[in-house]
Amino acid sequence: MPKAFDITNPPFDRLTPSEAETLRAALDIGYFSPGEAIIRRDVPAEALYVVIKGIVEERNEADLLALLGPKDTFDSRALVHDHSGHQFLARDETLCYVIPRKVALDLIKANPRFAAFFYREISRKLDELANDEETGRYGSLMHAKVGELFLHPPVFLAASDTIEAAGHLMREINSNALFVRDGERIGIVTGMNLSKAVVLRRQSIQTPVGALANFDIVSLRRDDFVSSALLLMTKHNKRRLAVRDGAELIGILEEIDLLGFLAGSAQVTAGRIDRASSQQDLATAAREIETQTRVLRRQGVKVEVIAEIVSDLNRRLLSRLFEMIAPAELRTSSCLIVMGSEGRGEQTIRTDQDNGLVLAGPMQGEILEAFRQEFFVALQSFGFPPCPGDIMVRNPQWSRPLSDYLADLRRWIVLPDQAGHMNVAIVYDAQAIAGNEQLLNDAKTALIDMTRGEQAFMAHFARAVDAFETPIGLFNNLITSEGTGDALDLKKGGIFPIVHGVRSLALEQGLRETSTDKRISRLCDLGVLQRDFGRDLKQAFRFLLMLRLDGQLAASAGASGTLVRPAQLSSMERHLLRDALQVVKKLREIVGHHFKLGVF
């Protein structure tokens, strides 16, 4: 009985203890010399293998499809479905656990959760497995740290300051609680303390706050657990806690924000945006969006729902900002649009400024220029970095009259180049956020009319699906360098080919949907994609978005988050990633065949 066999390694973590014992008792270990076939093509596998050490290549006729490393399990297809058509070769000196076919099949029959791993369709597999994976990933919300919560800034008053001064300060910093310093003592005074003093006790607004403040404050450290905060509030019957970093007070935690965090409070943020009366208010709300993403992910909310919520919040934010700063004439005679992933509603974390303005007609330069600049600066101050491609309202190329856009679209389609293709794609994905929506509608209608029947253009346009190779070859470095080497670029290798392949098919059909998910549904309805494949494609896409989101959350500050290091994924995630990339490959073939890309 190899005690060392890791029963927590998926899918074996789904076995009951007695099933696990049965499995362990039946295990052998195989050694394979470099180049040796572990599973031959079109021969039913006699066993299920789990890599102990070494690297295993999965190949079809000519192509290397994937590289498997320690803890990876192969091959469910060869085991359950007799002919896999794939071959598995040891790349270097390889040791594998060998689970006899009969033992594996018996376990599959006895245990439906274990069996899910062996489904043929990735869509079913992801449905069953991805959720399991998610729940374990972050642990409960209660294990979040206090520092992750929304904290009110630590602003200090002297005990001798007046109620009036306190009231103004609270309004200024948009907080309901302030620290009060009285010699060595530190207390907290709240808006409610002020109101009671003035309204109920008819005290003068010149009364010093020292007399109202509560000096019996309870504090905790920023790296304490959220659960401790909840306990302290309950135990001491407090509505707010002081948060320290070492000896320094760094903020005030309000009960409402703690409860909001635990309950998930996208609606709180949405409300904050809608009620915002200043750019300062919007900036506060903007900061919360990323926290929201993290919380939603932790709660196990599906990635497509997170994307929807985050896109909605971002759009509200932009729309509110537009209302605040756009001059009246602009509000009725222009349309604010978001483009790229923001337009498709596939953004899960705050991104670059990808926005533009469609004007009904020419407009006076100065007013427009002032708006462009102010809008850009405000977004930047909210933490939206400038778009590297300069696709922003600030750039006159992306804030001009509809007629100019139409002229350009025509040029991009008649004389296409790479930038032209990109611009067509950008406009096709755009969504109206504020102002006169009809302007964008007109632009899109024109775009769809112009491309209808333009087979040569469509073929060139679709070709970008092959711009980046499926990144399977990278796995080798990744596994052997244990996460220090190159990483897999999810965006280039998986997300972009899906987005663009689907976009190409959608544009050809003249669809008006912008999200990839909805476009896939419509393409299935129209019979362009087979329904089964459509389902697989959606699931694969969601899975890739989820991996990207996790990367982004992990990288949080700075890094792009589109890089994934397979060595850091769980073996289950690697297994699903392998399946998802197979779907990407198939989509490329479908798109290639559809647009006859073979002629290039």
Binding site: M1, K3, A25, D28, G30, S33
Partner: protein
């Protein structure tokens, strides 16, 4: 000391229990047994065996599904030091059979197959201490020493004065075999089996294990 071949002949004659004659049969093709014993100490005369593990190898397969594992009751006191190493508590050992009881099963398990081990001579000497009085022979099996296979692959062509490290950890590291947790007879035997298969394959293919240079080629801090 008698050469082993002569000893083998002698033992065929001295075999007291004829039912163990199979120990002198021809071994099945391409089958081996990896053995490992945990002991109370390193002195063959005064120390005792507390655990025995044996795993068969057939071809390139390690047959962990068919294995021999026994915890035995030693004659001498289990020293505190040995308890620390093997994590076998005195109570574990006291509940188990004394070594004589498990030996017949062990001998039938290994049969005439070559025995593989890490410092296998020590394990065999330990076992012979009990086997000789029991059946009148010492283990006649061919012995394969993994540290020796490793030495040949790594240091066989080394210039004189090359520092040599034959530790278990060094072999694991060079062969990139994950450590399964040492000082458990079964895990030690299993890792030894993995070492054997890989070293045998390297030998067949004529592949050597790279040696680190013992001293830097140039002094990177020097002028």
């Amino acid at each position: 000391m008698l050469p082993r071949a002569i000893k083998r002949l002698l033992h065929q004659a001295t075999l007291s229990d004829q039912s163990y004659r199979f120990m002198f049969d021809r071994a099945p093709d391409d089958e081996f047994v990896v053995i490992d014993c945990e002991t109370t100490g390193l002195n063959v005369r005064t120390d005792d065996v507390v655990a025995i593990a044996a795993i068969k190898i057939r071809g390139n397969r390690i047959l962990t599904s068919a294995r021999f594992e026994a915890i035995v009751h030693p004659d001498s006191e289990l020293e505190a030091e040995a308890i620390k190493i093997h994590r076998l508590r005195r109570s574990d050992v006291e509940a188990s059979p004394i070594v004589w009881k498990v030996l017949p099963g062990f001998l039938h398990f290994i049969g005439p197959r070559p025995l593989i081990g890490y410092y296998v001579d020590f394990d065999i000497a330990m076992l012979d201490k009990y086997i000789l009085p029991l059946v009148g022979i010492e283990l006649p099996n061919e012995r394969i020493e993994v540290s020796r296979l490793y030495y040949e692959r790594k240091y066989g062509n080394a210039p004189p004065n090359t520092p040599v490290d034959l530790s278990f950890a060094a072999i694991l590291h060079d062969l990139r075999i994950p450590s399964l947790g040492q000082h458990d007879a079964f895990n030690d035997a299993l890792m030894t089996a993995m070492m054997f298969l890989q070293l045998r394959d390297l030998t067949r293919r004529g592949v050597r294990i790279a040696r680190q240079r013992a001293s830097p080629v140039f002094n990177q801090f020097g002028g």
